[in-house]
Structures are given as structure tokens and as C-alpha cells.
């Protein structure tokens, strides 16, 4: 009964099509291990045809073949091809450029309400911390960890405080190491402020308030010894960047929390999902700002001792960030957005 093997339609189907599948597979292999640019022009033209042919093979195989291995093979091949064809093919270079030129500032612009809210909470925290400690220095110890303050407490002498403003920070192993430590620490706090946002932004607000409290308390210690102007410069040089970044991270958290709390017509899930991307872009930028702040703090602040220069650099950075974020800029044209 040789007829049997010859008339199996699924077998004939496979024999006729499998060259196409193999070709698709080898092309996918090259795209995944290198990139689309490793293909020749003819291959690029061929790719969509091979993809559609593989997809149609999958449909036919599902309807006519009972060979599990063929169906499983075609399913995985089609899925891989789908992710390659409909995935993002932008180069890393273009992605980075797009992020700084458009995505990040636009995401921040779109979240101006949240940025105002987080700045307000942050500033409120500073004010409360300042007023409390200025009136009763004992409050200081309830906000600040003694180890973190490293001796800069209300009990410290004026000379010591003055020294911390202009001196080097020895205890953490020198300039560069200190900057790196601050950068990684601040970035993690920012990631935290963002990640906790989904709980109606409450933890984010608490984190902002608490950070504000300790900064306010810290300033109050110095103003108590008539070092207000000097500590202002000490903070401003990097603080305009760093505090701005913290406020932005808080804005990201509030953005998500607000979407969860007030979903409008969407479900809470969809609402959160719709804002998560924007918040993540803001946060990605925050890490960059923290890096800049870390550099200024670790190097600039220790090397520049003049108060006015410190204020000048701080003011310049603030102006720079504000202009960068809020100067009007064009969003992508629809046809460009499609290619993205």
C-alpha cells in the first residue's frame, strides 16, 4: 500500500514549503544575532514575503497537518518573525537622540501638574523642617540620622559647620568615590519615589515630605549659626539639579498614582498603564540628572569655594533645566511617529 505515503497531503505540503521556512529561519538567526543591517538589499525585500509565506504555512499546517513538530516549528518561527518585523528597528544612537531631543522634555512638559504638586510637597517639607528646627533645635534629631548628618547638628560649633561648607569630605574616601556614592544613592531614592507611586502616590508624597523635612532641618542648623548665605551656596551649586531631579521623580510617582486614583472612563489598570510609559521616561531622565548632580557635587563643590560662583552655577543650572524642559518644542509628526 505505497499509495498511503504518497497521498499524505501534509507531507507534500511540507516538502514543497520547507525551503522557504529554512530560509526564513536562517535570516532570523542573522537578524537576532547581529541586526537587520547585516542583510543584503535583496534579502530585505524578500523578508516580508518570507514572513507572510511562513504565516500562511502556519495557517495551512494548523488546518491540515497533524504533525506536531511541524506546527510547533512554524508557530515559533512565525512568532520570532512577528517580533522582528513589528518590533522596533531603531538604532540605539537614534533612540538616545530621540530621548533627549523629544521624549524626555515632552514627558516632563506633559506632567507639569504633577511636577508642581511634587515641588509643592517637597518645598512644604523643607519649610516645616526649617521652622520646626529654627524654633526648637531638638526637632533636628527626629528627622535626621545622626550618622548621615556626620556631626552637622545644632550642637556643633560655628567653626566646624563653616569647615563642612568649605572643606573636603574625607570620611567617604575622597571626591570621586563620594560623588559616585551620592549618585547611586540618590538615583535609587528616585527610583523608589517613582516605583511607590502606584499606591495612590501616598508613599511618594511621604518620601518627598520626609526628604524636604531633613533638608529644611539641615538648613536651619546653619542659619542658627548665621551661616545661611554660605549654606545656600553650598546647596545651590548642585542642589538645583539634584532637588529638581527628586521633584521630577516624585512627579513620575504622582503621575502614576493619580492615574490609579482617578481613572476616569478607563479601568484603573488601563489608566495606570497609559501613564506608566511617560513616568518611566521621566524617571530615566532623572537618573541622568542625578549623574550630573553627582559630578557637580563631588568635584565642582569641593573645588569652587566662592559663594557667589556657587550661586551662579546653581542658578545657571536651574535656568538651563527649566528652559530645556519647558521651551515649546514640536512633537513628532504623525508620519514620523509611525516609523518610530
Amino acid at each position: 500500500m505505497t499509495r498511503r505515503t504518497l497521498t499524505l497531503k501534509s507531507k507534500r505540503f511540507r516538502e514543497e514549503r520547507q525551503e522557504v521556512w529554512k530560509e526564513m529561519e536562517s535570516m532570523l538567526q542573522r537578524i537576532e544575532s547581529r541586526s537587520v543591517r547585516s542583510l543584503t538589499d535583496e534579502e530585505i525585500i524578500k523578508l516580508p514575503r518570507l514572513y507572510r509565506s511562513t504565516l500562511s504555512s502556519l495557517s495551512v499546517a494548523r488546518a491540515t497537518s497533524l504533525d506536531q513538530s511541524v506546527v510547533a516549528y512554524l508557530e515559533s518561527l512565525s512568532t520570532r518573525a512577528y517580533y522582528v518585523i513589528y518590533g522596533s528597528q531603531k538604532r540605539l544612537r537614534d533612540r538616545i537622540y530621540g530621548f533627549f531631543a523629544r521624549d524626555w522634555p515632552l514627558a516632563v512638559q506633559g506632567a507639569w501638574k504633577d511636577l508642581s504638586a511634587s515641588t509643592f510637597i517637597f518645598a512644604l517639607g523643607m519649610l516645616i523642617g526649617f521652622v520646626l528646627v529654627a524654633n526648637n533645635p531638638d526637632w533636628f534629631y527626629s528627622f535626621m540620622d545622626e550618622r548621615m548628618a556626620s556631626g552637622r547638628t545644632p550642637a556643633a560649633s560655628e567653626e566646624y559647620l563653616r569647615e563642612t561648607i568649605y572643606g573636603y569630605e574625607k570620611e567617604d574616601g575622597g571626591l570621586g568615590a563620594f560623588a559616585a556614592f551620592l549618585f547611586s544613592n540618590n538615583s535609587r531614592v528616585s527610583i523608589l519615589a517613582f516605583a511607590l507611586g502606584f499606591a495612590f502616590a501616598l508613599p511618594t508624597a511621604v518620601l518627598l515630605l520626609y526628604n524636604g523635612l531633613s533638608i529644611g532641618a539641615f538648613i536651619a542648623v546653619f542659619t542658627g549659626k548665621d551661616l545661611g548665605f554660605e549654606v545656600g551656596g553650598w546647596l545651590a551649586i548642585h542642589g538645583t539639579t539634584e532637588l529638581f531631579a527628586i521633584a521630577l521623580a516624585g512627579a513620575g510617582g504622582i503621575l502614576i498614582g493619580r492615574a490609579v486614583a482617578f481613572p476616569g472612563e478607563m479601568t484603573r489598570m488601563e489608566s495606570m498603564r497609559s501613564k506608566a510609559e511617560q513616568a518611566a521616561i521621566i524617571l530615566g531622565g532623572v537618573v541622568v540628572m542625578m549623574f550630573v548632580a553627582g559630578l557637580i557635587e563631588g568635584f565642582g563643590r569641593q573645588l569652587i569655594q566662592n559663594d557667589w560662583l556657587r550661586y551662579g552655577i546653581g542658578g545657571f543650572m536651574l535656568l538651563f533645566w527649566l528652559l530645556y524642559f519647558f521651551l515649546p518644542r514640536k512633537a513628532l509628526e504623525p508620519h514620523q511617529a509611525l516609523r518610530k
Binding site: A177, E277, G284
Partner: protein, 284 residues
């Protein structure tokens, strides 16, 4: 349309449902463990390499180490998942990948967001737990941290799409990305003399109709695994079931392959008529 467990519809713009398969929780845990081991090894190697350097420039060595540790903790997952395979080395090893839920493209922001949530789900509570040993926090906080971490840890077990909290927020999920080879067709006979051996087996329609698709697929698995004992056992069962007269010197593999071809031919021709005979109890 009916779909198997653990699979999800993904209809391409061409109108074909790819029916992607979710990664199982075991594979996810395995992948994460592999990644953690890799990160730890890199950090140990970096510490070892930098320790010799710290002899003449301690500050620079510490700086580099802090930066490497930060990059590893915050960007190891993100950078790999932004790559062409959308998977970390651990995920690649277990043949799974990250994908956007639904038809959206996997954006860099989604990958960033899903991994930022790792910070509160894993690293933060871990930090609290280590805090006890260093006298940093008291027992209550570490208990709370454990509960907190537990919620995040077991989250994928309690939703149908096996989403981690990060997946939920970022709109992603983790799917299987197997890369099977195209195995040889079992009805193909590569040599003419095999054809002659096959031709000796002739089954009556009643004998062929003994089984359905489910049994055919089991038979396919058995033939592909080709374990001698199992082959013998299965061959005996089928012979008994269909009342096959045993000829001496009959080869089990040849018998099973011949029966497989006959059964597949029968079931496939039924399929062309619109009848999918599910299993042997399905009398169609």
C-alpha cells in the same frame, strides 16, 4: 476560538493568531536566579580586580566599584531586555523573553518601568533583611519587609497572565520563545528498501479507526523519543487493541511508523472534510 491552557491570542495584522505561550513561573524563577548569580559573579570579579588596583589608587577603585554595582543593580536587566532578543542571559538560557501585552511594541520605557519596579519588589526588602544583621532596623520592620517582599514575590502566582508587579505597570508579560529544529517527518521513508518493509503492513479501515488525534500525538512523541522499552510496550498495546496478527521477526519501529502513517493519513483526510476526531472516544 478554543485555546490551550497557558496560551494567549496574539493576532498579527495579517490576521493569523500566533497563540503565544506564557512562560511558566518555574522558568521565570530559574531565569532570575541565573541572572542574580551572574551579577554576583561580576561584582566579585570586579571587587577582586579592583582590589589590586586599590593599592595605589584607592579612591578611583572605590568609585569604579560603586558605579559598577549601581549599573548592575539598576541596568543589567534593562539593557539586556532592550537587546534584540528582549531577554537577559538567564531568560535566554530558559528560552523565554519579554514582550508587550497585546499588539503594542515593546518600548524602552516599558522595559525601564518593569525593571524599576524590581527595586521595590526585590532589592529594597532585601536591603531591609540584611539591615537586621547590621543592627540597622529592628525586628518589626524586617517582618514587614518580608511580608512586603512576599506579596511581590508571589504576585505572578495569583493572576492569570502570570504578571509580576513590574509587568502589570509596564504593560508587558513574559512569554516562551522556544527555538525548535524542524524534525524529520515520520512518514518520510528515506530509503527504498524501507518502503518495501512499510508496504508489508496493510491495515483495514476498522483497524485504523481505533484511535484519534490525541493518541496520534502520543504515538508521534513515542516515535521521536525512540526508547526501546516504550516502543515495545506501545506496539504491544496497539496490536492488542486493533487485533493485529503478529508475524515473526516483525520490527516494532517499522510497525509503529507504518501505523502512524496510516492513522495520520486517515485523520488528516477527515480534517479536510471538517472533522477533527479528538481522541479514541470521539466516534466520528
Amino acid at each position: 476560538m478554543q485555546i490551550k491552557m497557558g496560551r494567549r491570542h496574539l493576532v498579527t495584522p495579517e490576521g493569523v493568531d500566533l497563540q503565544i505561550e506564557l512562560a511558566d513561573v518555574g522558568a521565570r524563577i530559574g531565569a532570575f536566579t541565573i541572572d542574580l548569580v551572574i551579577i554576583t559573579l561580576i561584582l566579585i570579579a570586579a571587587a577582586y580586580g579592583l582590589s589590586s588596583m586599590s593599592l595605589y589608587n584607592e579612591e578611583l577603585a572605590v568609585t569604579i566599584f560603586v558605579l559598577i554595582a549601581f549599573l548592575m543593580r539598576s541596568f543589567y536587566f534593562t539593557l539586556f531586555e532592550l537587546g534584540r532578543r528582549s531577554a537577559t542571559p538567564g531568560k535566554m538560557a530558559l528560552k523565554i523573553r519579554v514582550a508587550a501585552r497585546g499588539k503594542a511594541r515593546l518600548s524602552a520605557a516599558s522595559v525601564f518601568a518593569r525593571n524599576a519596579l524590581r527595586e521595590i519588589g526585590f532589592f529594597l526588602p532585601l536591603g531591609f533583611l540584611f539591615g537586621i544583621g547590621m543592627g540597622g532596623v529592628d525586628g518589626w520592620i524586617s517582618l514587614l519587609a518580608s511580608i512586603w517582599a512576599g506579596i511581590f514575590l508571589f504576585f505572578p502566582l495569583f493572576n492569570k497572565d502570570r504578571l509580576r508587579v513590574g509587568d502589570l505597570v509596564a504593560g508587558t508579560w513574559v512569554v516562551r520563545a522556544p527555538r525548535p529544529m524542524l524534525a524529520a517527518d515520520l512518514v518520510t521513508t528515506d530509503k527504498p528498501e524501507h518502503e518495501a518493509v512499510f508496504a508489508r503492513f496493510v491495515f483495514t479501515p476498522a483497524q485504523i479507526d481505533a484511535y484519534g488525534i490525541k493518541e496520534l500525538h502520543v504515538l508521534e512523541d513515542v516515535l521521536r523519543a525512540s526508547d526501546r522499552e516504550v516502543l515495545e510496550d506501545v506496539a504491544n498495546r496497539i496490536r492488542t487493541k486493533i487485533g493485529w496478527v503478529w508475524e515473526s521477526g516483525e520490527n516494532e519501529t517499522a510497525f509503529l511508523r507504518a501505523y502512524y502513517a496510516a492513522l495520520r493519513g486517515r485523520l488528516e483526510s477527515k480534517m479536510l472534510m471538517g472533522v477533527r476526531r479528538k481522541d479514541k472516544f470521539d466516534k466520528r
